[in-house]
């Protein structure tokens, strides 16, 4: 429904648009400002992390909490690798095939998994991710626990060769922006409204005519397929994959991206969380052995003291300070009238 917009709203919309344009422009010129290949690598990994975090948020938006965000990331990476290395397909053929295969897999498993939302789904998602990793580790033709090395880079596309981190960054950035656009559109559509209703109250959603099962399944399939594409890019970027790279730790990290950035911010939250969680542990390299402890403490601190994450905390404190300002104005006004 078109609602009459007042001036203030128009202005914030314009600022929003401006902010988006500046952000995209900054992301496009970013690699030219950075010399170090190591930092470029971290930026690429942060982009992949952001995408994975957004898939977690996609499921969360429909009331599903997954502890197995890495499951389809692994499925995508291995599917594409097999298609390229064993079937001899071009990356650009393997990519859409990976999308199709993982979507069908997500539909099949999801149809079983999302019957039970709540704790049952959390546990099933965790077990599923572990089973995938173990299954790959046991499979000789997938390289077992040693993984697969020497995965080729994507075939060149005209003048673009994907031999450098530069080109790869743009490839992953393009996909990231596509995910952002598609997800944003979904969240603001009829589908997104149905998800929100289901997340807030599945029973109420039912009495409004929303088929909660089908919408949860939709979120699961979209999220899983996106993760699979991210996995496909990762395999051909990193050029070697091992089951260990898709362990339960990764799933916990992905969840942390969304929680740290702000659970209720489905797009920006994972982005901020992923950037922080990619760069901070890298600079804490000296204490690699105790990294899990630090991660655990960080998670505890967020849950106990900042349940809204970074963005949620900023929004709340902004509201509070506005309220505080209003209260002060009232106080001053009251004291003035009192004096009279």
């Amino acid at each position: 429904m078109k609602l009459p917009n007042n001036g203030a709203n128009h202005k914030t919309n314009r600022y929003k648009l401006l902010a988006i344009i500046i952000a995209v422009a900054a992301l496009v010129v970013l690699p030219f400002c950075i010399e170090s290949g190591y930092i470029k690598h971290l930026i690429i990994m942060a982009c992949i992390g952001t995408i994975l975090g957004m898939t977690f948020s996609m499921l969360y938006s429909a009331g599903l909490i997954t502890l197995g965000a890495a499951a389809f990331y692994a499925v995508g990476a291995y599917t594409s690798t097999v298609l390229v290395m064993y079937a001899g397909l071009s990356f650009w053929v393997a990519l859409p095939l990976t999308v199709m295969i993982s979507a069908i897999m997500a539909l099949g498993f999801g149809a079983l998994f999302v019957r039970n939302a709540g704790v049952a789904f959390v546990i099933i998602s965790l077990i599923f991710a572990q089973v995938i990793v173990i299954a790959i580790g046991q499979a000789e033709f997938l390289g077992g626990w040693g993984g697969i090395i020497g995965i080729p880079r994507p075939d060149s596309l005209g003048p673009v060769e994907f031999a450098t981190k530069h080109d790869f960054y743009y490839l992953i950035l393009a996909f990231l922006l596509l995910v952002v656009v598609v997800y944003t559109a979904l969240y603001s559509s009829r589908i997104g409204r149905a998800w929100r209703a289901i997340k807030l109250s599945p029973n109420l959603a039912g009495t409004l005519g929303i088929n909660a099962y089908r919408y949860r399944l939709l979120a699961y399939v979209i999220g899983s397929t996106t993760a699979a594409v991210a996995g496909c890019f990762y395999a051909h970027y990193f050029q070697n994959i091992t089951p260990g790279a898709f362990s339960g730790w990764l799933s916990i990290y992905v969840q942390l991206y969304a929680v740290l950035g702000g659970l209720e911010f489905y797009i920006l939250g994972p982005a901020i969380g992923a950037v922080i969680m990619t760069f901070v542990p890298e600079y804490l390299r000296v204490v690699k052995e105790i990294e899990p402890i630090i991660t655990g403490i960080l998670l505890l601190i967020i849950i106990l003291f900042f349940p809204g994450g970074i963005l949620g905390t900023i929004r709340n404190s902004a509201n509070v300070s506005f309220e505080g300002f209003d209260a002060r104005v009232k106080k001053i006004k009251a004291s003035l009238t009192g004096k009279r």
């Binding site: 429904m1 409204r193 149905a194 807030l200 109420l204 039912g206 009495t207 409004l208 005519g209 929303i210």
Partner: protein
């Protein structure tokens, strides 16, 4: 028959909550179900709207059997349920609540017409449409829940204790809203603890006790019945 519930038996786990309940609702009628806490009023509504599956017995609506169907299918047939407790999506705005309520209206023009209709009847919701639903007063939240149920163009609305927690003045207003909805040809099943108001509004009434119907009949006669008076109308 418009709505008919036949020999309904409903369990929560192993506990039998509804023990063989039968009731009927005619077209354009207001029927009330009264009874003490735990008598099975809410469970009856939840079973009719498909949130709960009966262990035995049937529910028929407009000539078709609806017991066993899922809630999202039943609402499509024309039964809207205004549940008790948290009836609104509190963190969302009033408008977003209504948009979700209009979920079944796939045609945008129809949805807009539906919103206009709602705002004509509930101008306060138009004023508050950008406000967060959780910040509305109790009466406004109840109005929002009813408005949202109306967006699905129901033939029958079931309301679960619409007057709970509202001031006497707002309860009176709620009574007017219910009469108004009924005058548009929509049947109403009203579950109430406020038996006085319910018996005033309704044409017929059922009294539930421990999952069974112990009394049924004309609402006006019921209001004068000694047993009802002493049990539900405070002497």
């Amino acid at each position: 028959m418009f709505l008919e519930v036949k020999d309904l038996i409903v369990h929560y786990g192993k506990a039998e909550v509804i023990k063989g309940l039968s009731l009927k609702v005619e077209e354009k009628e207001i029927v009330t179900i009264i009874g003490a806490n735990g008598a099975g009023k809410t469970t009856t509504l939840r079973t009719i709207s498909g949130l709960k599956t009966p262990s035995r017995g049937e529910v028929w609506f407009c000539g078709g059997k609806i017991s066993g169907l899922k809630a999202h299918k039943i609402v499509r047939l024309g039964i809207s349920h205004v549940p008790e407790g948290r009836k609104i999506l509190a963190p969302l705005s009033v408008m977003e609540n209504l948009e979700i309520g209009a979920y079944l209206r796939k045609d945008k023009k129809e949805a807009v017409a539906g919103f206009k209709n709602i705002f004509d009847h509930f101008p306060i919701l138009n004023e508050r449409r950008k406000q967060i639903a959780g910040s509305l007063s109790g009466g406004e939240q109840q109005m929002l829940a009813i408005a949202r149920a109306l967006l699905n163009q129901p033939k029958l609305i079931m309301m679960d204790e619409p007057s709970t927690g509202l001031s006497p003045l707002v309860v009176e207003q709620m009574g007017l809203i219910i009469t108004d909805i009924n005058s548009r040809g929509i049947s109403i099943v009203l579950v109430e603890q406020n038996a006085r108001m319910a018996l005033n509004l309704a044409q017929r009434a059922y009294v539930l006790e421990a999952g069974k119907c112990v009394l049924e009949g004309e609402a006006s006669a019921m209001a004068n019945d000694q047993r009802v008076k002493s049990a539900y109308l405070g002497g």
